[in-house]
Symmetry: C2
Subunit: 424 residues, 2 copies
């Protein structure tokens, strides 16, 4: 045992929670970097889904060093069961890529056991839609003190958006003259095609919940309320070309507005006409409601769960998904007093993602960054010993690492369009 521990002084074992499309990416990527991360475990409510991911990791030969993906069944809403699992497996990092409803029970288990916590989306109460801003105040940040007291590193929102886009915001902010940044506009365009009549790229329940409530944006240093599809912008973007996007409510606006001194922070999600039409019909009819309705037969049903049941499983889209995503931050301010706009972004390809890890591009962009965060915790660079959002950490090692492991960052400004990397 001693020999083994000496052989991997920085290795940290990982427990992945969840077994959807993003979890599949996380599992593959953890396996590809098990020289840094050590033993990899995956647990979800459904053992079969974990086993299928383990099989996929085995089939693609993803482990860098010979190993197996350990699978477990657990109810992630059950903190004591999670604590038991963390203690039994001896993991030091938990990557939570399960449903947004389980964040607090998973975080609680991490605080209790003193292990690091990473997630990729904000906690949600299944009974509520779109709570008071800033959203992080409602659940996550209430645990800040406890994380600090227990020396627990908890990295919130470490996917792509939120996640890399927070790092992009921080980088753009730091490039500009102090206090000069007026606007951060995060733009998320999926120019890919899945070939189905209609599908969501991740859990329909979470996907629709993003759009059914109030759209909160940070403008003139205060919260502004709009409705979905009320405000539109059009950009000519690298690779994906001219694209429409709509002002949307999204996690990162709720931490960036607190952590950066910038008066306007907005999130824009790209949608085609067809998506908007289907969404509008479902929304107008009340079929996206998370509140139960009663059928004529007396059965109590949550409409949104039925819509989810009839839509394609997002993970089923991967094999036929083609095209690219472009996600990035437009940051406006001055550099040496000169007005400047930079666009820091990533282009990902659905087919490439599928070939590498068996998932589509949306899952890929969400799943690779938390693995980078875990690796930076393992190396100590991001082992903050407290709860943080991505923009509170040094973005440079994160960007550099992601350049190497699948999500290269580029920058476009008046000097041109080029790869972005840092000498540290």
């Amino acid at each position: 045992m001693n020999t083994n521990q000496q052989a991997k002084p920085n290795k940290k074992d990982v427990l992945i929670i969840g077994a959807g499309g993003v979890a599949q990416v996380v599992a593959h990527k953890c396996a590809m970097h098990n020289d840094v991360l050590g033993e990899i475990h995956i647990a979800s409510r459904t053992q079969d889904k974990c086993d299928a991911i383990a099989q996929s990791v085995k089939d693609k030969g993803s482990f860098k060093q010979a190993a197996i993906l350990h699978t477990h069944q657990v109810d992630a809403m059950d903190s004591p069961a999670l604590i038991q699992l963390i203690q039994n497996t001896g993991v030091q990092i938990v990557i939570n890529v399960g449903s947004s409803f389980i964040n607090m029970t998973v975080l609680e288990a991490c605080i209790e056991t003193g292990v690091a916590y990473i997630d990729t989306a904000i906690h949600e109460d299944p009974r509520k839609i779109c709570e008071t801003p800033p959203w992080y105040n409602n659940y996550e940040w209430q645990r800040k003190q406890r994380c600090a007291d227990n020396n627990v590193t908890a990295i919130l929102g470490a996917g792509f958006d939120p996640g890399m886009v927070n790092a992009y915001a921080r980088l753009g902010y730091d490039m500009m003259d102090k206090g000069s940044v007026t606007d951060i506009d995060i733009i998320d365009i999926n120019a890919g095609s899945h070939g189905k009549y209609f599908a969501t790229n991740f859990d329909p329940e979470i996907n629709f919940r993003e759009f059914t409530g109030t759209v909160y944006s940070w403008q003139d240093s205060k919260w502004q309320s709009n409705k979905m599809f009320e405000v539109k912008r059009t950009d000519d973007l690298p690779v994906v070309g001219v694209q429409n996007s709509y002002l949307s409510g999204h996690d990162e606006v709720h931490s960036l507005s607190a952590n950066l001194d910038v008066p306007n922070i907005r999130f824009w999600m790209g949608f085609g006409e067809h998506y908007i039409n289907v969404f509008t019909v479902l929304q107008s009819l009340g079929l996206l409601s998370e509140q139960p309705v009663m059928t004529a037969e007396g059965q109590e049903v949550i409409p949104l769960k039925v819509v989810k049941a009839v839509l394609p499983d997002p993970s089923s889209l991967a094999p036929n998904y083609t095209g690219k995503t472009c996600i990035g931050d437009k940051v406006k301010g001055t550099i040496n007093g000169v007005h400047t706009e930079v666009f820091i972004y990533n282009i990902s390809d659905h087919e490439d993602a599928y070939n590498e890890v068996g998932s589509q591009g949306i899952s890929y962009t969400a799943g690779v960054p938390p693995v980078a965060a875990a690796m930076l915790i393992a190396t100590g660079e991001w082992d903050a010993g407290k709860m943080v959002n991505i923009e509170e950490l040094d973005a440079k090692p994160f960007i550099n690492l992601l350049n190497k492991i699948g999500l290269p960052t580029r920058i476009k400004d008046s000097e041109g369009d080029r790869a972005l990397a840092f000498d540290i």
Copy 2:
């Protein structure tokens, strides 16, 4: 008792089954003609709904002769309970305007007790959509012999469509040279507006079931199959003007094709672009399916029943419904060897219907004709002593009676557009 019977020698007491918008119309109209129909009873699964209709009939002072509407609770799928109710009340005519799923149990109770039966829509099995044509062969016509053996008058499809349009088809057919009719096109246009984002004019479950299956039409003297919204026509119609309608599957085609020697019999339903868009989205997503799906939480749900639960209750549309309906038959053939087309039709007004009986125009057009049929059974003119579809009966007294009680018929041909009535 003897005295009483002498005072109303032709009176027949009526039991209305159902308590929706159509039942409300039937109740009011029966009350308005209780000099012919005698005691009026109404029964449904929900006593409260019956009581509300009784209150409405009372409030509007609809009874011609002082009386009350007797209300009862009954499960219409339970034939023995229905038999008991028929025997206890002593009614001689049952008007079935409940769900299409109950026709066979209600008919069975009428056959067993020897009372007359009237319905307005074909029987459906809730587990099946759009069975083999002709639809009447699947359930109703299998009971023809038993009705004849028991001297039971059973008038099938006695609403507007099916119902009055069958009478119109018969009249058009009889106006033309024998064997000369080539086409009967039944056109149903609702040019009214309910002011809601989306709503169906009667039970959404039944409404959508009409459009989700194969569209059967009778063309070249055989069944042809199409999909909904595949075949469109445009007509310039009286009062409602230029309107689009779509080849649809509908009950009357399935009896007219058997009872009249006409090679082409089609049913066309009017739809606006918005209706078609909403329908197409719901249908494409699988939300109109009558087959259960399983939610992620393991709840088995029939999507169509959830769509029904979120849509407005059709009876709630009545107070704000404006505009008119135009429903009629275009019949092509020769008269004295000359090619002729006649359009026999009715115009109804939503507001007028609401003011008279508290229901919207679609319920009104469906609910008045079965009351006329009941009155003609009471007077003996339609007391056939067997099972018949409307086109097998003499249309003239039916049209004349409906001219007087709320649904006037008009005819438009080369000689102009005029009221249609008959000297008998």
